[in-house]
């Protein structure tokens, strides 16, 4: 079942079209990556899903219900982790989570249990009586997440949740995202760090100028821009090398030699690296280095949008 359906949604700010006739679906259980450079329309889309902005046209459904007509139902099923840390510095960690969870109708012992659970999940149980003003950036980010999950939402929207934190906290957060997903939450995840998206997202959409320009799994996106992968092999000498033998290996499309480097292009999806190495060794070619280069998400993004993700 689709947890989120966006159909022909447009959002304008004056004459500027931030989101242009966008359609998108996210199925339950996915970790959906949302990639886009600054100003691409990513945050506007997220804000419309969260109910913070109203679309000028189109419809957005959460669990099959239109958020315009059933806004409280939609909001109850969404947890939002905003890009900017949205907590009260003068309330303790416990009070922060309790306050926001309380707005979702939780009361009494249930509220207390959920708050403790959320703080434990993000590893801040022992800091629940501390004030966030004394927290590190990573701890604040984790508290930011705790405030979004205490009411156990089905869909969690995480907007750049790892900005400006140390690698340890980043790893903790990425592991938390996977764990939340395993617990049954659907995640919409945006990040400027391509490797994070590659690591955790099951499906990715690339947005540019308010439009979804590509959508699919990582492999599907890579396949959009190329159907070949390259292997660069550094050799001591090419004297004994038989290029024709290499070309005869299944899947190999081209072989190019440059100084002591051999570039072998093969069909994507064909695993022929073992046979290539075997062939070279049989000819007595001494291999010094080996690098497989297939188009990554960064390349895909750059090719499709013409700009880097951090632009």
């Amino acid at each position: 079942m689709n947890i989120l359906e966006i159909k022909n949604v447009t959002k304008k700010f004056g004459d500027f079209i931030a989101v242009d006739n966008m359609s998108l679906t996210v199925a339950e259980g996915e970790i959906f990556g949302f990639l886009g450079a600054n100003g691409a329309g990513k945050s506007t889309t997220i804000n419309m899903i969260s109910g913070l902005l109203r679309p000028n046209a189109g419809e957005i459904k959460i669990l099959g219900k239109d958020i315009g007509k059933h806004s409280h139902f939609a909001k109850r099923n969404i947890g939002i982790v905003p890009q900017d840390i949205a907590i009260y510095e003068d309330l303790t960690a416990y009070e922060n989570v309790k306050f926001f969870a309380g707005l979702y109708g939780l009361r009494g012992s249930q509220l207390h249990e959920r708050v403790e659970e959320a703080l434990q999940f993000v590893g801040l149980s022992d800091k629940q009586k501390s004030y966030p003003k004394n927290f590190s950036g990573g701890m604040k980010r984790r508290l930011n997440i705790a405030c979004a999950i205490a009411h156990r939402p089905k869909l969690i929207i995480m907007d750049e949740p790892t900005v400006g934190i140390d690698p340890q906290s980043r790893n903790y957060i990425l592991a938390s995202v996977k764990k939340l997903n395993e617990m049954g939450c659907t995640i919409i995840y945006t990040s400027h760090y391509m490797e994070e998206v590659e690591e955790i997202c099951t499906r990715i959409a690339i947005i540019d100028h308010g439009k979804i320009i590509a959508e699919g799994t990582k492999e599907q996106l890579e396949a959009i821009i190329t159907n070949t992968k390259d292997v660069w092999i550094g050799v001591k000498s090419m004297d004994n090398m038989d290029i024709n033998k290499l070309k005869a290996i299944s899947g190999v499309k081209a072989v190019q030699c440059e100084e002591n480097m051999v570039k072998i292009s093969s069909d994507i999806g064909v695993n022929n690296l073992n046979r290539i190495i075997q062939c070279l060794m049989n000819d007595g070619v001494e291999i010094r280095s080996l690098e497989e280069k297939s188009p990554n998400l960064e390349t895909v993004f750059l090719t499709l949008t013409g700009r880097n993700l951090r632009d």
Binding site: R54, H72, K75, R76, D84, A86, F99, G102
Partner: protein, 373 residues
């Protein structure tokens, strides 16, 4: 329930903001102490009057003369000394030269009095006393011209020695410096609630918590009301603490209608919060909102008599003074305390509530139009 949750959160945060709390509590108390002590003499309504010397010429005879002597004897009891002027003396000149405080000329036709304007207090006392005497004397003189045989009866009928009557221009109790500053500092700090209120909603936007609040399944109105309620409770508690502190520590007099005094102050807090909130929606930037609020508070404090009593004499000065919310509140509270005039609270309450409704309407309408808070 969400409204209560939001209000409680506001109260908690406000009371943990030590700097603001010190300002809201310590600032008025310290000012009260300094001004109340330093300016205590300025509020003393006791005036010392030395002996009064009056020159007189008595051209009366018979019954009239006796009556005048009795009057002079009675006046001496009140340290008003009459000296008979010799024939060649010009009584008016003597008064003009400051040798005497007054000159009285009595004949069978009536009484004429001249006093020196340079000492209005003494002059007023003489006038008051002589007026009481002259009322009867002139009446008897008039009767004597028509029915002389009735004079004796009139002279002796209703013998009086109360020529000087104590008529207080003020009520029994007048505010001393501490009493005065207890009121003005309380109402002034109530108005300062507008400063934090100007940041009430804008603060959520700056802190980015506005989005999290709006992403929750609650109405904007709940956020709006909850925040106003929280701010009002905090500000009112501060003001209430100041009243209690001034009453028991500084022994400031708050009268017998404390509940009504609290009600007036409560409506002023409502006005302050609404005003700050309204301005935060009218002004484009946070800085502009804060500046407008601060300027208004400073002017209102000055013209409302927070630092010293303003005696507005001209029409424009009176108009400006009356425009200050502190004037409404201070006047109402002072009248309630010192004149038992409970109806004086109504104009202040109505003005505060009315203007609050206006500013809340502005804020509410702006909030409805916005997509965010």
């Amino acid at each position: 329930m969400n409204i209560v949750n939001i209000a409680i959160k506001e109260i908690k945060r406000d009371f943990r903001d030590v700097r603001t709390l010190i300002f809201m509590l310590a600032f008025p108390i310290v000012l009260m102490l300094i001004l109340g002590t330093a300016l205590s003499n300025a509020f003393d309504s006791t005036i010392s009057v030395e002996d009064i010397h009056v020159l007189y010429k008595d051209k009366t005879a018979g019954e009239f003369s006796t009556y005048v002597r009795t009057f002079i004897k009675e006046a001496k009891k009140s340290d008003i000394h009459f000296k008979k002027a010799s024939h060649h003396m010009d009584g008016r000149r003597e008064v003009k030269q400051g040798n005497y405080d007054g000159y009285m000329e009595i004949d069978n036709q009536g009484v004429q009095l001249y006093t020196n304007n340079s000492n209005s207090v003494k002059g007023s006392i003489i006038q008051g006393m002589v007026a009481a005497f002259a009322d009867k004397y002139n009446m008897v003189a008039a009767v004597a011209q028509v029915k002389p045989n009735q004079v004796h009866m009139l002279m002796n009928n209703g013998h009086r020695d109360d020529y000087i009557q104590e008529t207080s221009l003020h009520s029994k109790r007048q505010p001393g410096a501490m009493d005065y500053y207890a009121i003005t500092m309380t109402t002034m700090i109530a108005l300062y609630g507008a400063v934090s209120a100007s940041y009430l909603i804008r603060g959520e936007r700056t802190r980015k918590t506005a989005d999290r609040l709006l992403a929750a399944p609650i109405h904007k109105s709940e956020i709006f009301i909850g925040k106003i309620l929280g701010s009002m409770v905090t500000n009112f508690l501060c003001v209430a603490i100041i009243i209690v502190f001034s009453k028991f520590v500084f022994k400031a007099y708050w009268g017998n209608h404390l509940a009504l005094v609290y009600l007036v102050v409560f409506t002023e807090v409502l006005f302050a919060v609404s005003f700050g909130l309204g301005i935060s929606y009218i002004a484009r930037t946070e800085g502009a909102a804060k500046m407008i609020v601060m300027v208004v508070i400073q002017l209102a404090s000055f013209f409302g008599g927070a630092y010293f009593k303003i005696e507005a004499t001209s029409t424009i000065a009176r108009l400006i003074t009356n425009l200050s919310p502190l004037t409404w509140a201070n006047t109402a509270i002072t009248k309630m305390i010192y004149a038992n005039d409970l109806s004086a609270s109504f104009p202040a309450i109505l003005l505060n509530v009315g203007l609050s409704a206006l500013f809340l309407l502005i804020a509410g309408m702006s909030l409805t139009r916005r997509e965010g808070l």
